[in-house]
Symmetry: C3
Subunit: 323 residues, 3 copies
Amino acid sequence: MPGPLTLGQIASRLGGRVAGNAETLVAQVGSLEHATAQQITFFSDPKLKAKLTATRAGAVIVDAAGEGMTALPRIVCDEPYVYFARVSQLFNPTVRQAPGVHPTAVVAAGAQLGARVSVGPGCVVGEGVRIGDDSCLYPRVVVYPGCTLGARVVVHAGVVIGSDGFGIANDAGRWVKIPQIGGVRIGDDVEIGANCTIDRGALQDTVIEEGVKLDNLIQVGHNVRIGAHTAIAACTGIAGSTDIGRHCMIGGAAMIGGHLKIVDRVVISGGTAVPSSILKPGTYTALFPIEEKSAWARTAVLVRRLAGLAERVKALEGKDKNG
Amino acid sequence: MPGPLTLGQIASRLGGRVAGNAETLVAQVGSLEHATAQQITFFSDPKLKAKLTATRAGAVIVDAAGEGMTALPRIVCDEPYVYFARVSQLFNPTVRQAPGVHPTAVVAAGAQLGARVSVGPGCVVGEGVRIGDDSCLYPRVVVYPGCTLGARVVVHAGVVIGSDGFGIANDAGRWVKIPQIGGVRIGDDVEIGANCTIDRGALQDTVIEEGVKLDNLIQVGHNVRIGAHTAIAACTGIAGSTDIGRHCMIGGAAMIGGHLKIVDRVVISGGTAVPSSILKPGTYTALFPIEEKSAWARTAVLVRRLAGLAERVKALEGKDKNG
Amino acid sequence: MPGPLTLGQIASRLGGRVAGNAETLVAQVGSLEHATAQQITFFSDPKLKAKLTATRAGAVIVDAAGEGMTALPRIVCDEPYVYFARVSQLFNPTVRQAPGVHPTAVVAAGAQLGARVSVGPGCVVGEGVRIGDDSCLYPRVVVYPGCTLGARVVVHAGVVIGSDGFGIANDAGRWVKIPQIGGVRIGDDVEIGANCTIDRGALQDTVIEEGVKLDNLIQVGHNVRIGAHTAIAACTGIAGSTDIGRHCMIGGAAMIGGHLKIVDRVVISGGTAVPSSILKPGTYTALFPIEEKSAWARTAVLVRRLAGLAERVKALEGKDKNG
């Protein structure tokens, strides 16, 4: 771990303006609640003002609006959370696995690994796979034959890339398998969370564009495309052939149907099922607020009786007109 | 990859009738959009007629209704999609892992493997496991002791078969484990997608009958039975002791409760929670259409106020009667 | 497997009172439906009385209410299901993997394993990991560096502990990674189901307290705390920084949002999305009953037209007042 830095040194590397004592030394990042005098924290949400007042951090990253809310030494910048991320990167330079192929990994003779690629214990990399420079496969990642990963791709433990898509045709009650002859193409700077599954395409490739970030336990069906810089939270499933745009944000446990089109800059709430295309940027949801069980049971019954209620209102309107 | 075939050769192997030049050579399958002159595609959905008109495929598989919609050389058959699957199998004979046990796999001395079974790198096969002829375990599959797999079973990477079911009894706030002494029985021709988990039974076995197809990241609880030739899409969870019939189709991210009975030939929409048994064949759903967030918030509030609305209608009806 | 025991012997070890022939020998547990004359079953649900009448079990565990419902030799106790669990443990002493590190596992030099710890084939245990006495890692578990597991922890195959949390900050459309410098702390007597993923904390640790039981394919986000003796069924996702109390029970495929507080003794129905905190013990749900598709489509349309319906009722009320 790098040594401590003064606020002045940090600002000279990352930009921003120091207010208060620029010689203040910090050695690590911390949260408003838990940071110590040797740590720097950040503040960007006015709702947390009480925590800012109470923090024992040695310094704080704020935006212009927050500058006057604390007497602590501070760095003033436009995006405190992004700035905090960069400070944390200074103090915590990525310590991934060492480059090279672990002796327990199985890499096919015809696979092509770029410079400084790290392949962790228990990984299996199939024939014809190509992996770009500085990429890292944590333990027990499986990449089926013929898939390609870009540079600086990070794949967490247990991920499966290139398994067969779910392509079956029903022949009088029996399922006939459709060979999945496409591959998977993953762009630069993609990160994929633990135990995700990304199927190979049926005919063309499944595509994950550059800068996409996937959380854990996400399923990406065959021939899906995920546009650049889209982020998807854990437990989401994306059914086959769906095309998701760039710069989307998809909440956890979203359930996205197949053969849909979702345009750029769409935000989908966690836990939301998406049965149809979304052709306009915006924030979408279909989530009911949770209720105590008995209250909910009453609501659910009323929802199922809505047709009756509508009929009764119509009848009243009719009487009203005729009465 | 096998060499090219004429339409006449294909029809002589798979049936169907050639219309147009039966000497047309094709060497691979492709989609309506991407197929080249050396490829054969299929057409079965009238909504895609514009794509049929625009296709650059060398030939097309159609049904009688589609025969007149194109001048391309074509094979006419009853089920173009099934026929397409079979043509693809001709051009892409399954290239699974080579038969045999990979040196990095760990197979217990008492496990019984049938003829030509393939056990991939990193697999772990426990004591007393039996696997039928021609089955294939892709890398990193774990089969706990005492489970049985039929013939021609395909298990994709990362699958866990036979882990303990979730059997716990609450003893004054502490959980007491109920030993899971059943096993898992998997029939012939089953395919299981990447990172699925299939728990062993508590007392009797968990059973997956012949011809079942499971997509990725599916959870099968203890003592579940999945009837023959049922297909289940990714991210679905099936809680313990539920009995699912034959020839069912279950959409992705379905959430199926425990101790339920679902009869044969039931179709369940993706993203649907199933809290009670389904005793009649049909198509079932409980999915709301997605909405833009502000519209949805209004809807959700109104749903919670339904009881009040119903009361008001009742009051109006009372006045109407008495007025 | 231990030999048969008389009911008297069982009661002398586990408590309870024998009614009928205390010399009755049983050698295994079984269900009401499948138990044979050499097996003991349990009865606690009056709805299953017909099954009790029909059972071929040699003996049955009942509570006081059930004592008079059968003439079979029986053990009378307060909690038949818990008692059954303990009898099953007598006949099925846990046969986990043998203690020790399997030769195909990769354990970092600096990891500390307690007495009798079992590390199965293909496991990867990182630098600085500590694992308490008698814990068991089934095959292919990955524990990232710096995580700690208590005593008697059972981790099923394919689990990933300590992968990076989903911490990213958006810098003008590009995602900047926030180093995840917290760890994971898992208490004594925790059991974790197959293919679960448990992320390390961003700044502080992710914490799973003693006695927690997790089913399969569960995602635990960074900085989550799960209180002692809480049980969570399969396919549930818990987003980052959420604090779940002690003695909660969470149904399968629940979707729990981030930064929430759920107090002790909360029960959440399976398939339920939880978008807000739950500050009062109780049972919560947000699940609609499933319907046949055409009926549901009508319901869904009516729900979206609720605003219109409410307007019409208001209009009628206005006329009523003015009329």
